[in-house]
Subunit: 378 residues, 2 copies
């Protein structure tokens, strides 16, 4: 069989998710029902359409209306630049399936969602991980990146906004990474499933554009799951102006997914038609919940530190190692004894950190953080 590492993060969450009361491991903006979206947006969903839709494969590559709505999230992306997939997970998988294999060098800027390093490795690529540091605000050292580039560097992989840190690579940083990639003809795969959730930028921060809009070999992967609150429809996409990426992905897609669900296609169109109302709601959720996290960090008196998130739904909180020798053990204890699910940094290869999802329900965050502070004797 091909070698596949275990997915530390997902396995940790799967194991405890249904048992705990306070979930601060969630990365989605609190998921909504269609009724809730109707209430938030003031626009009715057409349930008759679902009742009468013939449940055939229908548009194999996604409906024209869906592709148009997704294209509307970008500046330079038309239907011909899109591949609709089974979630962001499917978009990332299909990108690697299409582009990397033995003989290819892939650079991954970490910490990052584990799929983004494990899958290219499984497909046989030589994966090199560059670890970004808390002390640098999880920003890349561009000289170090350039020094790692090789003739066969097929791809640079990043996640912007980032899970787990909630940091962004601002526009000027992304442009410099593009310059480096272009010299080597390398693709940049940017997992952008947390776009456009730039809820807490500071005045000096330049919001980055999507990599597909910035770079001719840029691949933006996106999803309805995180920012748009509907992970329960499995719908994501690849956006790229590179023809080989799109054509190659469409060929391989016939082998591992064929099409997305027709009802999910209809729902995604409805959600994207109401994106302003949903994003406004989720911005508020994130901004208000971040205040709760700020307060917990302050009250911890140095036992917890963070680089304050500017976007996305997660913070990567550093735990003072005088208090806790193993964040893995801490999270196991929290799950078993305190009804709290937090993700240990070990699942990102960053022991000493906790990932805190702050876009879930307010009560989960408040109670989860209280339990964490109590665990630290604060």
């Amino acid at each position: 069989m091909v070698k596949q590492e275990a997915f530390e993060l997902e396995q940790f969450i799967d194991k405890y998710e249904t048992e705990v009361k306070y979930n601060v491991a969630e990365t989605c903006c609190y998921s909504m029902s269609l009724r809730e979206i109707e209430n938030i947006s003031g626009n009715k969903f057409d349930f008759d359409k679902i009742a009468n839709e013939r449940l055939a494969y229908s548009y194999i590559q996604g409906s024209p209306g869906l592709k148009k709505a997704i294209g509307g999230l970008y500046e330079t992306i038309g239907p011909e630049n899109l591949v609709v997939t089974n979630g962001g997970i499917g978009a990332n998988f299909l990108s690697f399936y299409t582009l990397v294999g033995p003989g290819d060098h892939v650079i991954v800027l970490s910490p990052i969602y584990q799929q983004l390093s494990s899958v290219p490795k499984m497909f046989g690529a030589d994966v090199e991980i560059i670890k970004l540091n808390f002390e640098d605000g999880f920003q890349p050292n561009l000289k170090q990146l350039e020094a790692k580039m090789r003739k066969n560097t097929k791809m640079i992989v990043m996640n912007n906004p980032n899970n787990p840190t909630g940091c962004i690579f601002p526009q000027e940083t992304v442009l410099k990474i593009v310059d480096i990639a272009r010299k080597y003809g390398s693709y940049i795969l940017s997992d952008e499933v947390y776009r456009p959730l730039f809820h807490s930028l500071e005045p000096a921060d330049s919001e980055p554009k999507a990599i597909a809009d910035l770079y001719e070999r840029g691949i933006s992967t996106g999803s309805m799951s995180k920012s748009f609150s509907v992970a329960g429809i499995r719908l994501g996409w690849i956006a790229s102006r590179d023809k080989n990426v799109i054509e190659g992905s469409l060929i391989r897609r016939d082998f591992n997914m064929i099409s997305v669900g027709v009802i999910d296609d209809i729902i995604a169109q409805y959600v994207l038609q109401n994106k302003e109302a949903i994003m406004k709601h989720n911005y508020q959720l994130c901004v208000q919940n971040l205040v709760i996290l700020d307060d917990a960090i302050r009250r911890s008196k140095g036992k917890l530190e963070y680089v304050r998130p500017k976007a996305g739904t997660t913070a990567f909180v550093k735990v003072n190692n005088k208090d806790v020798s193993s964040t893995m053990q801490m999270c196991l204890n929290l799950a078993k004894h305190d009804n709290v699910l937090a993700v240990p940094g070990e699942t990102f290869n960053y022991p000493g950190f906790l990932r805190i999802g702050f876009a879930n329900r307010r009560e989960d965050l408040i109670n989860g953080l209280e339990k964490i502070l109590a665990y630290l004797n604060v």
Copy 2:
């Protein structure tokens, strides 16, 4: 990049499907809407449930109700023996992803859906194809199969009922294949997406049980798309009593799909609750439509021959080569000039054949076959 053959069949269909009027390339039992299933079954679908369902990832591995309903299609399969996937295509892909790679020998009984030979090849396995013959009623020569077995034969792959032939391997044949596989410790992956559509068995035919029920290393892949008329929900599954298959698939599933859509999960439960009514309807559809195909074969006066389908939705019709030198060219002409989409045998590596899907709308089949007969000057 990893090597991936083009998917001849899907690309041929994608290219012409939306242009033609009479589609005899379809392999699904004519797809239904929820309203149609309500009418056929007499049972209301709960649309309020869809309206109020929070669109979260929900049950990552599929809901307990869904797993119970799928288990009900087997004799020995419980929830712990199932992996829910994005369609049958996802079930097959995930099985290969989990089990085969460089150093593994895989035997594929052909003609077969191309995914089932191309994907193990892509994952690096040594794939050996055994071509079954029209003259043998597309039945395997078991001595030939046994002679091909090696110490490293990881898997035998078959499709039962078969697409494109509509033939079955009867119970006694499957049991003999199990005996051969067991000697070598090989898995048998049986794509069973056309179960339980055994609509035209003859009295002497023994209906085969699912491979997961027959063999401890059997892997049955299944789907809601074909027999159950709802390809538009992307929902399939792997059924196996082999723990390594299930555990390995669950690990890899986190890397390429995470979960299926929550609404698709709800719809699949509803469809399976009404499976008797739906299957009765689809049996009738197949039986009645096969008469139309019988008639066309008879009227062709030897220009068309078939092994009469016993199950599934397709027939593999042999075209007399005195009349047609290339079935690929014939199908291109039919698509371009006669508004008919039929699949050329070339896409299965069987030139000289046409695949005729007979479970689509009656008018597609009647008109499609008339045009084919006219093309042959009948």
